[in-house]
């Protein structure tokens, strides 16, 4: 069918392999190193730059599934608007900062691209129907990482309990003692809670404690 299979000529793949295997007699090792190093920087920088582009609020909102559901609920919450004007946008909470975990999350996101193409949640009704499962995924992910993304900003060790309100002081003190994590209590902080959230929460805690809790 194609040209490279007929006659005695080796296939294109074989030719390419030969080219890579053969030591060059034309270019100096220095030139190859310098060119390789420079292109390496450009490619690696370009890769990270493109990945960071997908880590912006604008990128998330380019899908109407995000803009018309979760974003509109997030508007006006404490992470969107507050007295000091410091915002935590989508990727701050939903994409890990450490590189390895970030790459892992980005690979997982290919599943989200698939469901974008399939239109799994492309109407409000479909979104609401799937909402409990989606929320449970996020809760479990945060529980597994000990609320890593929350703790990028909110660290227990940096809490000044004396400047918190009385109820918060008591509960945060307990949380530190019991080794609780942020998401254990702070669900539905930036988005509305799904139907059946509290039952799902209890089930999740029960299975979690059965596996992880040391007696």
């Amino acid at each position: 069918m194609s040209n490279d299979t007929d006659g005695k000529q080796p296939s294109l793949m074989c030719q390419a392999w030969e080219l890579l295997r053969k030591p060059t007699g034309r270019w100096s090792l220095g030139a190859i190193l310098i060119v390789g190093f420079a292109t390496g920087i450009i490619f690696w920088g370009g890769f990270n730059w493109a990945m960071e582009l997908t880590n912006t609020e604008a990128f998330c909102l380019s899908c109407h599934e995000m803009e018309q559901n979760v974003y509109r609920e997030y508007r006006g919450t404490i992470h969107d608007q507050n007295r000091s004007g410091v915002r935590a946008t989508c990727p701050d909470c939903h994409v890990p900062k450490p590189w390895v975990y970030k790459i892992k999350r980005k690979i997982q996101a290919s599943n989200e691209v698939l469901h974008k193409i399939l239109g799994s949640i492309d109407t409000r009704e479909k979104f609401e129907a799937k909402r409990l499962d989606l929320a449970k995924n996020v809760w479990l992910a945060m529980k597994e990482t000990d609320s890593r993304e929350c703790r990028n900003c909110h660290t227990f060790s940096a809490f000044d309990l004396s400047r918190q309100q009385k109820r918060a002081q008591i509960r945060h003190d307990e949380a530190v003692e019991e080794g609780k994590t942020c998401i254990d209590c702070h669900k539905g902080v930036a988005h509305k809670l799904p139907d059946g959230a509290f039952n799902a929460e209890r089930e999740m805690n029960e299975t979690w404690n059965a596996v992880h809790k040391k007696k």
Binding site: I78, Q165, K166, R167, G188, L193, P194, G196, F198
Partner: protein, 148 residues
């Protein structure tokens, strides 16, 4: 003829003057709660902080207990009621929060149900948090329990 016209003019003038004076007097007596002119937009109300951790006593027997914390961020809708996440049994024991009274479970036929009745579902209709705001008008209300 001339005198007649003059008289009418004087009478009219007097009448108008009196109406104007009367209007001034009324305007001086009536003070609206809203100080901005009618044509101007309302002045933004002062912002008061919700009283947190302050125990509010009941002022009369049937009074729904007041909420000693902010409630604006708690979601109360068809899907969830975040108040119940702490104040409904068994959560109330875990979270050491006051348990809502069992009367909230009685439906309109007087039958006890296992979930909070729809009539009583919207907590903030009766239970509200308080701010330390100055009353707009003088108020002579006295709590019913004083002197008992």
């Amino acid at each position: 003829m001339k005198i007649k016209i003059m008289a009418i003019a004087v009478a009219l003038g007097l009448a108008l003057g009196q109406v104007a004076g009367f209007k001034d007097a009324v305007a001086a007596d009536v003070r609206a709660l809203r100080d901005s002119p009618v044509s101007a937009p309302d002045k933004a109300p002062d912002v008061y902080k919700v009283q947190d951790g302050v125990k509010h006593e009941r002022a009369y027997r049937q009074q729904p207990p007041l909420v000693p914390h902010a409630t604006e961020k708690y979601e109360i809708d068809l899907k969830v009621n975040q108040c119940l996440r702490c104040h409904e049994w068994p959560y109330s024991d875990q979270e050491k929060a006051p348990k809502i009274s069992d009367l909230h479970y009685i439906d309109r036929n007087g039958v006890r149900q296992d979930t909070v009745n729809g009539n009583r579902y919207f907590c903030t209709q009766c239970h509200v948090s308080q701010v330390d705001a100055k009353p707009l008008v003088e108020n002579k209300f006295q709590p019913a329990v004083t002197g008992r």
